[in-house]
Amino acid sequence: MSRLDFDIAHFLAGLLVLISFVELYQDRLYALLNIYALHALTLAASVAWQAFIQDAPHLYVTAAIALLFKAIVIPVSLHRIIVRLGIHREIEKVVSVGGTMLAGMGLVALSMVVMLRVTHGADPLAREDLAFALSVVLLGLLIMVTRRNAVGQVVGFMSLENGLVLAATGAKGMPLVVEISVAFSILIAFIVIGIFLFRIRERFDTVDIRALDRFRGERR
């Protein structure tokens, strides 16, 4: 593998982590969706580059799914759902932006320390890809726990999943990657349909304590 190949792959994976950080501090839903589309676009580029340097044509399918489904179909349909259901366009956050960013930095440092320490046997590209992927996964989790809004949580989950696809394509020669990315797309499609059908505006988020009681099964 040439130096340039490595650098481009490295750059794209790093960009994905950076965009995860950008997602982390968004406080408007539309902006969050646009950033997510960018996230998915970067993933598509990264996967396509992996397909090229690993000479693995089936990965182009995964890249195409990322491009068409995640970067276009999902953001557009979520956009429309927000309009149709009249969801609050502002994202209620549990922790302040500063705290979230610090936590995010901590998570990235953690994943670097953990992954780089345990994978010194693996080849450098896979190794750093995996470290970046774990960062994206952890940042996705952080996005999920710091949002009260269902759509915000779904975006968190989807960027988490992008991290997984990055890891799977970075692991050279891994079988079933295409199948797994299809399975994940189905999962995400279900989630999006679920938001629409179930009309979930905010999750467990209500000032009405009785509603919360009812939900916890402590009905009187």
Binding site: T119, A122, L130, L164, K172, G173, R203, R214, F215, R219
Partner: protein, 479 residues
């Protein structure tokens, strides 16, 4: 590929799902559902006699045959129970015919997904199967379309998806660990190859993988800090699904965990997975035991009891060694049978009382003697009183632990006693005393419930030597 028992347990539910989705009419489809599960059970049983060779995707060995037969059996009895349960739901109008059709098709898809996860020899395929099972159950949990049911389904969905995502990361790490040793491509995901070569894997990578797998599949098992989806999903879905969730799906996730535990055990440099599982198991047990006291909803209460028992089972497998593994396997079987029997009873109880609130039920043994005493027997069994099967298995778990780690055994016994008291406190008000609440009628089918309880009773009194030998053999495999 020629037709064998392995393809049988997959093809039968898959074909049945397609057929049931196409056919209208409750009476016909409900019976076809039973017929399909019967066929699956027959295929599963034939695995004991003739077993196809392991391929790159499918595998049958002593370990998963045990799980498959248990799944097929409980799947079969639950379909019999669901015949009368769903009939009642249709009459009262809680479910409409299109939903019933959907329910039956999904029931078979769930059976297919669980069987696929159990027979998969490929860790990627296993992951896809568990994801499919999760999706199916999410749809089933939300089937009543009430506000609570949708919230429960959504919560289950999000938490389940995160769990599944973490499990996938773990799976990728296992592949990364295997690739330098086994070589690139499909082989590095085939479990039978992995376990023979695991000695040479990079231990650090394998350790990290197991942590992710434990968190991921552990969410699906319902282990304590990750259990939040479980009580809601059990309480709000149709009762046959609660029975299958508790009795089977939790086992399937645990089975996936056990497969990876065997991988780690084969590598001398890797961390011992036991202590992690022991800690999570004990935490689940004690936590769930305390949670039993404040429950007002009968199905939620038994859901917490499931967390408690999955904790015990995980604890037993975490302790490892032939005796503890034997106890874990036995406990898993007994718990599946007993808990699904309890849910069969609870389903009918909720139907006659037209509520799930414990406060609105009372004197069940007077108004509905058969149902009431069935429930009492089930709770006596699940609480672990002699002479029933769960007493046997819990006794084995406790005694094998006392021999090796007396302190842990103290915690275990403490949790068990707290759980026992909590269950009886509630049972007292449900089954005895003044009859309370409406006393409606139901065309209950008691056969599945009493069949399960009879099996548990027999296992408590006399275990056939062949069965003991079989379980010992499987326990030996688990290491």
């Amino acid at each position: 590929m020629t037709f064998d028992a392995l393809t049988g347990v997959l093809v039968v539910p898959a074909a049945a799902a397609a057929l049931l989705a196409a056919l209208p009419g409750y009476r016909l489809t409900a019976r076809l559902n039973v017929a399909a599960t019967t066929l699956t059970l027959l295929c599963a049983l034939s695995l004991f006699f003739k077993r196809p060779h392991a391929g790159a995707y499918l595998l049958a060995d002593d370990l998963n045959s045990t799980f498959i037969v248990l799944t097929a059996f409980v799947g079969f009895t639950t379909s019999v129970f669901s015949l009368s349960y769903i009939g009642h739901e249709l009459e009262t109008g809680r479910l409409t015919p299109p939903f019933v059709r959907f329910y039956h098709a999904m029931y078979q898809v769930l059976m297919f997904a669980m069987n696929l996860a159990l027979v998969a020899n490929n860790i990627g395929l296993m992951w896809v199967a568990i994801e499919l099972a999760t999706l199916t159950t999410v749809l089933m949990v939300g089937i009543y379309r009430t506000h609570e049911a949708l919230e429960a389904a959504w919560k289950y969905f999000i938490l389940g998806s995160v769990g599944i995502a973490l499990a996938l990361f773990g799976t990728i790490l296992v592949y990364m660990a295997a690739r330098p040793v086994v070589g690139e491509g499909l082989n590095a995901m085939v479990w039978t190859l992995l376990v023979t070569r695991a000695r040479d894997f990079d231990p650090a990578l394998l350790n990290l993988a197991f942590v992710f797998l434990l968190l991921g599949y552990g969410t699906k098992v319902g282990l304590a800090p990750l259990h939040a989806w479980l009580p809601d999903a059990h309480a709000e879905g149709p009762t046959p699904i609660s029975a299958v969730l508790s009795g089977l799906l939790l086992n399937v996730a645990l089975y996936a965990l056990l497969r990876f535990k065997m991988l780690l055990a084969a590598n001398p440099g890797a961390l011992a997975p036991g202590p992690l599982m022991v800690a999570l198991g004990l935490l689940s047990l004690v936590f769930a035991a305390f949670m039993l006291y404040r429950r007002r909803d009968i199905k939620r209460m038994f859901a917490y009891s499931s967390i408690e028992h999955m904790g015990i089972i995980t604890f037993a497998f975490g302790m490892g060694g032939p005796l503890a593994n034997f106890a874990g396997l036995l406990h898993m079987t007994m718990h599946s049978l007993t808990k699904s029997a309890i849910f069969f009873a609870v389903g009918h109880v909720a139907q006659v009382k037209n509520t799930q609130r414990i406060a609105d039920m009372g004197g069940l043994t007077e108004t509905h003697p058969v149902l009431g005493w069935g429930l009492v027997l089930g709770v006596v069994a699940i609480a672990g009183l002699p002479p029933l099967g769960i007493f046997m298995s819990e006794f084995l778990v406790v005694s094998s632990t006392f021999a090796r780690a007396p302190l842990l055994a103290m915690v275990l016994v403490f949790g068990l006693l707290i759980g026992l008291a909590g269950l009886f406190l509630r049972l007292n008000s449900i089954a005895f005393g003044e009859p309370r609440g409406p006393a409606g009628k139901t065309q209950a089918s008691y056969v599945p419930m009493f069949a399960h309880l009879a099996l548990v009773l027999i296992a408590g009194i006399y275990m056939p030597p062949a069965l003991v030998a079989w379980f010992y053999n499987v326990a030996g495999l688990l290491g």
